[in-house]
Symmetry: C2
Subunit: 110 residues, 2 copies
Amino acid sequence: MCMRQIKHPSMDQIELTDIMYALADPTRLEIVTLLAAAGRKMTCGEIDLNRPKSSMSHHFKILRSAGLVETAIEGTEHMNSLRLEEIEQKYPGVLQAVLKATAGSSTSQE
Amino acid sequence: MCMRQIKHPSMDQIELTDIMYALADPTRLEIVTLLAAAGRKMTCGEIDLNRPKSSMSHHFKILRSAGLVETAIEGTEHMNSLRLEEIEQKYPGVLQAVLKATAGSSTSQE
DNA sequence: ATTATTGTTCGAATATAATCGAACAATGGA
DNA sequence: TCCATTGTTCGATTATATTCGAACAATAAT
């Protein structure tokens, strides 16, 4: 029960261009879409998209630094969740509109 | 009156990730913001942000290929306008939310 | 203690993007 | 026709991103 936490940007540190940048990558957009669809915390493993762990970790890192994803360590697992409410508060409509846009056209390739 | 036109993507060719990518660059986001604020066609010259012509041209090219900006040649000038209605139709709320987000915090540096 | 699990970090290769001067193309006007 | 204007294209440089194997760190279980 060490609760070693990963550092996340605070709301006032979240930049719109960082969000845009993070969402510009198809893999990352899919991660966000899956998290939103699930509506719950998910481990990195659950979101596996046939890519090496190190690649996924890289994308999660960018999603985290953009402020889109929050990661809580629970045991050996990293529980990821969308920071939807916070981003809505700071940039109303942006993330929701993006999620609505991806909801129709399936980005997944399986 | 040659009306030599530049090629633009049709609505069904406009990809969300391309839009995100285009808007992830501060210079391009500012161009889009200025065009939206102006609410009219503007020449590249009018939007000059203390950068060389070739750099601006590069950014306009990306905005065009993403489907965000439409450029009509009128004489020696290139008139640029936002494809707001079309993008709203395809991805409702996305661009408007981004514009609302940039409306507050001035991205300009002069 | 040893081992398995989960994910991060490192490092190096490859790929993509930004920047900007210089040359170019198209138009309009003197 | 010649020149000015507007913006694009070219080409080379520099900077930034992506990718992924291998080594590592933290925890949990045996």
